[in-house]
């Protein structure tokens, strides 16, 4: 009992590469000399020295166990500190934590990915899996919505995914001059015929409202509720079910999630302030 490592103590990893994705969003590629495997949809607690720890999804290719990738938006103190780190510097990592996307369940069927904003981060590993192994899923479609053209994440990657056969649909809440694509909420992109509802599984990540409406729409298009999965967000301090912050009704988001099948959370999401 006593010899067990303390899940509250981070290990130290070095930053190999820092990619400025857009204004205020930075991807950090960490060297994982000992190897680092994870399930797509899982997250790590990242620690910036002297500032603190926050939960951040793993956004890299699961096949590359020597490299660990995170994409961070600078919103508060810790995320700002993380985005300021430079290659060669070190940070603390605890993880992988939580329950990822139920990918076994999808095997051979259609995969519907719906992301809002930085919610694309935990779906990126799934897209990379699909690209690496085209036979793993039947059809893959990605619906991605973001605020405006300037905040479209990973344009090149999405182009690459498109070339590999993923059907990528992008929309923005408000367009700026020069934007050729769709404008409006992400649910408007979802059309019958994009996937075969009977064999499709949907993975959703984004703001709670976005997920709620997307889930409704996809369910309306025929995907059974239990095959719609949402990645939830709650305040997290420990990431391992000890601190009580990520309570969501009967669930602890860090331990039981962050990914939940719709039926587990649907009614909870209706309750104000749960």
């Amino acid at each position: 009992m006593t010899g067990r490592p303390d899940p509250m103590v981070p290990s130290v990893l070095r930053i190999a590469r820092r990619i400025e994705e857009m204004e205020g969003v930075v991807s950090l590629e960490l060297e994982a000399p000992g190897g680092f495997s994870f399930q797509p949809g899982q997250f790590n607690m990242l620690y910036a020295f002297g500032v603190g720890e926050v939960p951040i999804s793993i956004s890299g290719d699961p096949a590359r166990t020597d490299r660990l990738r995170h994409t961070v938006r600078a919103v508060g103190q810790v995320s700002h500190a993380l985005t300021r780190l430079r290659p060669g510097m070190e940070l603390g990592v605890r993880g992988p934590l939580g329950r990822g996307w139920p990918l076994e369940e999808v095997a051979g069927g259609d995969l519907v990915l719906a992301a809002g904003g930085l919610g694309l981060a935990p779906l990126r590993p799934v897209a990379e899996l699909a690209v690496a192994d085209p036979r793993r899923f039947r059809r893959v479609v990605l619906y991605y919505g973001t605020r405006n053209p300037a905040t479209v994440l990973w344009r090149q990657e999405m182009e690459r995914w498109r070339r590999a056969g993923i059907r990528v649909h992008v929309t923005v809440d408000s367009a700026t001059p020069g934007w050729q694509g769709e404008v409006g909420v992400v649910t408007r992109l979802m059309q019958p015929g994009h996937f075969e509802p009977a064999v499709a599984t949907a993975l959703l990540c984004g703001p709670e409202v976005m997920m709620r409406f997307s889930a409704q729409t996809l369910h309306g298009l025929g995907i059974p509720a239990e095959r719609i999965h949402l990645s939830m967000e709650r305040n997290m301090n420990c990431g391992v079910g000890l601190c009580g912050h990520c309570q969501f009704g009967p669930r602890l988001v860090c331990r039981d999630g962050p990914v939940f099948p719709l039926p587990e959370v649907e009614s909870l999401m209706q309750v104000r302030g749960l």
Partner: protein, 366 residues
């Protein structure tokens, strides 16, 4: 050997023995007008003949050895519970140092002294077993502290007005989780303790206790005492869980929200509450940082903070979180209820909000 009957000197012998085995002995004593666990070397320090009168938002001590003998354990509970010995209000977890860009993280050892807790009640043991389920798996610090405890429980001979362990099925009789359990007896004018073991370590200690074999009337008195302690006024309905599950939108939450101070007293005294938050502390030089764990309360706005605001914005939502978590969601999360029926949250709420009444209000109005 199943049990021993000892007198006060036998009990003192037990305290001494525990002390000589390197345990810090903590037992109920009088402190600032309440009964509270503190370091004890002599039986003299125990709150002999003291009973607490509790009500929602009220706690007073009464001194009268009304059974002719000053019972050492005539009080029902320690005021704030024992959880602070397992789950301290603040604790440093690790220290970090940054040199150049290189980061070094040093785990800080947990303080886990050998402690003998003497005078726990059935509900206190229930609370420890609940916290075991929540924390022992993933928190090696808790686990280490837990391993170093020797638990001497006491069967209640009297319940305080706020007790409802009987309804929660956690007491008043001590059945599990203890190393030793005492029942304080005074029948026939002789002040004595019936001691039983609940673990191997306890059995070992029992062997060595100076005393004799208990007799039938000792057992009878024990039974009668526990029966007396089982007479409790407060209760929770059998179907509390279902009731709460279907009451998440109940208008009554708003009403409690108006009365609730969101002060966190209930979460602080509850022996099963485990919430904590992590904070980073740095010194002036900026070269070192220490990562701390502090106890936390779901009544604080920070607790559910997300994107610049709390998810649970008002007191109504927070009270609902506390109550439904305790009495219902805990079951889904940890396979047990989060309430032992100790009544501390009722007693120590400054405005006397009583969870059993709140549940009853949901029931009536539902």
């Amino acid at each position: 050997m199943k049990a021993r009957l000892i007198d006060k000197s036998g009990l003192q012998w037990l305290l001494d023995r525990l002390g000589s085995q390197g345990y810090e002995v903590l037992a109920p004593c009088l402190e600032n007008g309440v009964v509270e666990a503190g370091p004890v070397t002599s039986l003299e320090e125990l709150p002999a003949g003291v009973e607490e009168e509790t009500e929602a938002g009220r706690y007073r001590l009464r001194f009268d050895g009304k059974e002719g003998t000053d019972l050492l354990f005539s009080h029902a509970l320690t005021a704030m519970g024992w959880q602070r010995f397992l789950h301290p209000s603040s604790e440093p977890l690790w220290r970090a140092e940054l040199r150049g860009g290189a980061l070094e993280i040093q785990p800080l050892p947990a303080e886990a002294p050998r402690r003998a807790l003497v005078g726990l009640r059935a509900c206190d043991l229930a609370a420890i077993s609940i916290q075991d389920r929540v924390l022992a798996q993933n928190d090696p610090r808790y686990a280490r502290r837990r391993e170093n405890l020797f638990l001497v429980a006491v069967n209640c001979g009297r319940a305080a007005a706020t007790c409802f362990c009987h309804a929660m099925g956690t007491g008043p009789e001590v059945k599990q989780g203890h190393d030793l359990v005492l029942t304080e007896l005074v029948g026939g004018g002789a002040h004595r303790f019936l001691v039983e073991a609940g673990s191997e370590a306890g059995a070992g200690m029992l062997q060595a206790l100076p005393g004799r074999e208990p007799e039938a009337d000792d057992w009878e008195e024990k039974r009668a005492r526990i029966e007396a302690a089982s007479r409790q006024r407060r209760r929770l309905p059998e179907d509390t869980g279902d009731l709460l599950a279907s009451s998440l939108d109940h208008p009554h939450w708003e009403k409690v929200g108006e009365r609730c101070l969101a002060c966190g007293n209930c979460t602080s005294v509850c022996p099963t509450c485990f919430c904590s938050r992590m904070v980073e502390r740095t010194g002036l030089d900026g070269q070192q940082a220490t990562h701390w764990r502090l106890r936390d309360s779901c009544f604080d706005s920070e607790h559910s903070y997300l994107h610049g605001g709390p998810v649970r914005r008002d007191r109504a939502a927070r009270y609902r979180q506390w109550l439904t978590h305790k009495l219902h969601h805990w079951q889904a999360q940890f396979g047990t209820t989060g309430c032992t029926g100790c009544g501390r949250c009722i007693t120590w709420c400054p405005v006397g909000i009583d969870l059993t009444e709140e549940v009853a209000a949901l029931e009536v109005a539902a």
